[in-house]
């Protein structure tokens, strides 16, 4: 029986309604409890900020695509390796890489920022074992992964034939086979079209051969998601990402959620999560007259409660873009000519990888930076707008503290604007310079843990409510006396005073001190076997896949410390 109490901190937990009041947080056997005995170990958090462990709703941190990025970018590690993480008795681990860090650096760096959960944003089902093997080698963090469904031949056919129950049964089967947590959609129809050398740039472009539109795909998947009552909603990277004028396509995509209500037992309220909204909020007709469409998109998001979004903030770094949106990466490479990898994953998906430099001296990059921050600053309900960098696409996750700094301080935003070569043009093409809103710690707690946890249906695990896992971050920030120098805010969020994972102190004063067990979360749907779907699966495997059905699903031993989120479908 281990007991621990965190005393006198300013506690921010939007899930349980704590808004920075001084409170004690009690922990017993790794769970949050109401009280502990007087023998409990005491952590003094006086003058510090206490939050639940951070929850990253969208990042690319494990799997074949991430690893291909590591392979094709040895220079990402250069002059950037450090013997740093790890506990002393094991010897220090080499922490390598900047935009595509090693699994070890990933776990340690997230823990140092007070994060204890990440959601891998795109798992190709066929290659799920690789994702799970990297989870095993990523210390400390609880992790989950979303298989991609937006270009899946099974889903295309079931949706086209309006077979909702069969589509749902297939999704449940695939979540089980890959140990996935929810439904990811990347460029619906477009990645499949890319295999024919084409793309779907609006929600009404038909997919070659299948004769189905992105709108039908997304609607069909939302319907199946709510039929099953999964913990998370459909998680979408829509059509026409990264192109000027795409804000209209984004609003068209968001409108597909209209009239649908969330149906689940996990407290989730949205039916559609639009990820990295920054890449989808572009106005203009070309890169020459490119400008921010954040206001238009956020006006829609603010008035529709069944939608959540994350930002995908550009951090102005040299990074590596990687996405299942194959055609997008091809076009990006045509712009920057650096290097390009492209992968097709049979009946399921594809991907592309291109290194990219978000240079503060390039006008477009400056405007992209502004758009991301505008999304956060225009938001009315910050429980529905989450901080991400779409790691590593818009910047590495290690820059979250910097994103927080920009959102909390107009002075910091102005200082960054002042370093831009085309400052005046960036200001003219965006609204960032006129926005004086500065977010507070409660807002940040919503955007970095409470909001994402709720949207993922995991707030009973990742919060400070009674019975939740005792994953806790304690920051060196006095909530009553925030530093006037914004750099100190960034520094405080970069290295916690303490990070606790299930009641175990894993980080103390920015140093890794323990590596307790971690979980792989996945969604287990209990429902009767669907004979038609099993027949279809067997047939497709014998005709179209390169692997046997028997060799397809991840083996139990692939999945590290599995923790199933269970639900029943009659």
């Amino acid at each position: 029986m281990s007991e621990l109490i965190i005393k006198n901190g300013y506690v921010f937990d939007p899930i349980s309604g704590l808004k920075g009041d001084k409170a004690d947080i009690s922990v017993k056997d790794g769970k949050i409890v109401d009280k502990v005995s007087n023998k409990a170990e005491v952590i003094d958090a006086a003058g510090k900020t206490v939050m639940a462990g951070g929850v990253d709703i969208h990042c690319h941190v494990a799997g074949p695509k991430v690893n291909l990025g590591r392979e094709m970018r040895p220079e990402d590690k250069f002059f950037r390796g450090e013997y740093r993480g790890g506990i002393l008795k094991q010897g220090k681990r080499m922490e390598m890489g900047f935009s595509i860090p090693s699994t070890w650096k990933t776990g340690y760096a997230y823990a140092r920022m007070g994060y204890t959960f990440t959601n891998e944003a795109a798992m190709p089902p066929l290659l799920a074992p690789h994702v799970h093997e990297e989870f095993r080698d990523t210390p400390i963090l609880d992790q989950a992964a979303m298989p991609v469904f937006g270009n899946n031949w099974f889903c295309f056919e079931y949706i086209k034939n309006k077979e909702l129950e069969n589509n749902a049964a297939y999704i449940a089967w695939l979540l089980n086979a890959t140990k996935g947590i929810g439904i990811k959609v990347v460029n619906p129809g477009g990645t499949e079209a890319w295999a024919w050398g084409e793309n779907c740039t609006t929600i009404n472009d038909p997919v070659p051969y299948f004769d189905i539109t992105p709108a039908e795909i997304v609607k069909g998947l939302i319907e199946a998601n709510e039929y099953l009552g999964l913990p998370h909603s459909v998680h979408i990277h829509g059509n026409n990402l990264g192109n000027p004028g795409n804000y209209k396509d984004t609003i068209d995509t968001l409108k597909l959620a209209e009239g649908t209500k969330a149906k689940n037992k996990f407290g989730r309220e949205q039916v559609l999560h639009n990820t990295h909204l920054q890449f989808h909020s572009y106005k203009g007709t070309s890169w020459a007259d490119f400008e921010s469409g954040a206001k238009e998109v956020m006006d829609y998001v603010n008035s529709n409660k069944n939608i959540t979004v994350d930002i995908g903030q550009v951090t102005l770094d040299e990074t590596t873009t990687m996405t299942a949106d194959g055609p997008f990466e091809y076009h990006l490479n045509q712009l920057n000519h650096i290097k390009w990898a492209n992968v097709d994953v049979e009946l399921e998906t594809g991907s592309g990888i291109v290194p990219y430099i978000y240079d503060k001296n390039i006008k477009v990059c400056g405007i992209q930076w502004a758009i991301g921050l505008e999304i956060g600053l225009y938001a009315k309900d910050l429980m529905r707008v989450h901080i991400t960098t779409d790691h590593p696409n818009a910047g590495p996750f290690t820059r979250y503290p910097r994103v927080i700094k920009w959102l909390m301080s107009q002075k910091a935003r102005e200082a960054t604007l002042d370093t831009m070569k085309w400052k005046d043009k960036v200001i003219a093409a965006s609204n960032i310079a006129s926005m004086d809103r500065e977010l507070g710690l409660y807002d940040i707690a919503m955007m970095t843990r409470a909001g994402p946890a709720k949207a993922l249906g995991l707030s009973s695990i990742y919060s400070l409510t009674k019975g939740a896992d005792a994953n806790i971050a304690i920051y060196n920030l006095d909530a009553n006396k925030l530093p006037s120098d914004p750099e100190l805010i960034e520094a405080a969020f970069q290295n916690t005073a303490y990070t606790l994972k299930e009641g175990v102190v894993v980080v103390k004063d920015g140093q890794i001190v323990a590596e307790p067990p971690k979980y792989t979360l996945w969604t287990k749907v209990n429902m009767p076997e669907n004979a038609q779907v099993m027949h279809d699966i067997k047939e497709k495997f014998s005709r179209n896949y390169t692997v046997n059905l028997e060799n397809y699903a991840v083996f139990d031993e692939h999945v590290h410390n599995a923790r199933a989120i269970e639900l029943d479908v009659a």
Binding site: M72, R73, P74, E75, F78, Y83, H337, I338, K339, P355
Partner: protein
């Protein structure tokens, strides 16, 4: 200019990374402080003083500091890495990564240098009295930013991958070279006074290669457009001019298409 002379006193078991042997690191330091600078052998961290004895005196600034390296340093890498000014003279053969990422100053090696000589170099001068191995003035593996400025002169011969992804500066190889010259280059000049086995200018977008000897296996992506006279390394010669790589993307400047050039001495 003040001079620090460092003399090898013991050999490492593996290879020693001498990234701290630069005028920038030595300037303003006492000999004891210099001897205490770290060096790595694999993952073991040593001090430079564990392998070298130091005499003389360092200048106040990098520009005012000269370093002379004596002894058999064939197992020592990374002399002059990232140096910005001053001078290094190595009186023997040495290992890889000499003058990598350097931005200024001068390095002279009286013997042979190994691979990755002057990679991603931005400025300054390197003179090798003997031979160099592979990747002279090229980009770090995987990187697309090769040598961008400065001069590398190799009096002997060189291996493969010379000036890969080069964007500026000059490389002169006075002897023969093997394969892959100016691959993926977007600028810069490579002069080879001997013969080249082949693959000169593959996927080159911009840049100039001057070959005094023969190219045994020329690439098909180049075509001859003229015979020209050019001054190269202080003398004027007649060359056949080839443009390419015709299979690679092309950029335009003032309406004219930019090509890479291979000048083959007649």
């Amino acid at each position: 200019m003040e001079t620090v002379t460092m003399t090898l006193t013991s050999q490492p078991e593996l290879f020693l990374e001498c990234y701290n042997v630069t005028p920038d690191q030595f300037a303003g330091k006492s000999l004891a402080e210099i001897a205490a600078l770290p060096a790595h052998e694999g993952k073991i961290q040593w001090k430079l003083g564990d392998f070298f004895k130091f005499d003389g005196k360092a200048g106040e600034t990098a520009a005012d500091t000269k370093i002379v390296v004596n002894g058999d340093v064939r197992r020592m890498k990374r002399f002059g890495q990232k140096m910005s000014a001053g001078e290094i003279v190595i009186n023997n053969d040495t290992d890889m990564y000499i003058g990598g990422w350097m931005t200024g100053g001068k390095i002279t090696v009286k013997g042979n240098a190994d691979s990755f000589l002057g990679i991603a170099m931005e400025g300054g001068e390197i003179l090798i009295e003997g031979d160099a191995q592979n990747h002279v003035g090229s980009a770090y593996r995987g990187d697309w930013r090769g040598m961008s400025g400065g001069l590398i002169r190799v009096k002997g011969k060189a291996g493969n991958d010379i000036g890969t992804a080069m964007t500026g500066g000059t490389i002169i190889i006075e002897g023969d070279a093997f394969i892959h010259v100016l691959t993926h280059a977007e600028g810069g000049t490579v002069i080879i006074k001997g013969d080249v086995e082949g693959r000169v200018g593959g996927q080159m977008v911009k840049g100039d290669a001057y070959i005094f000897g023969n190219i045994l296996y020329p690439l098909p992506g180049f075509k001859k457009i003229a015979t020209v006279e050019k001054e190269v390394d202080g003398a004027t010669y007649t060359f056949d001019q080839f443009i390419g790589d015709l299979g690679e993307r092309k950029t335009k400047k003032k309406g004219e298409i930019i090509y890479g050039n291979i000048y083959l001495k007649k």
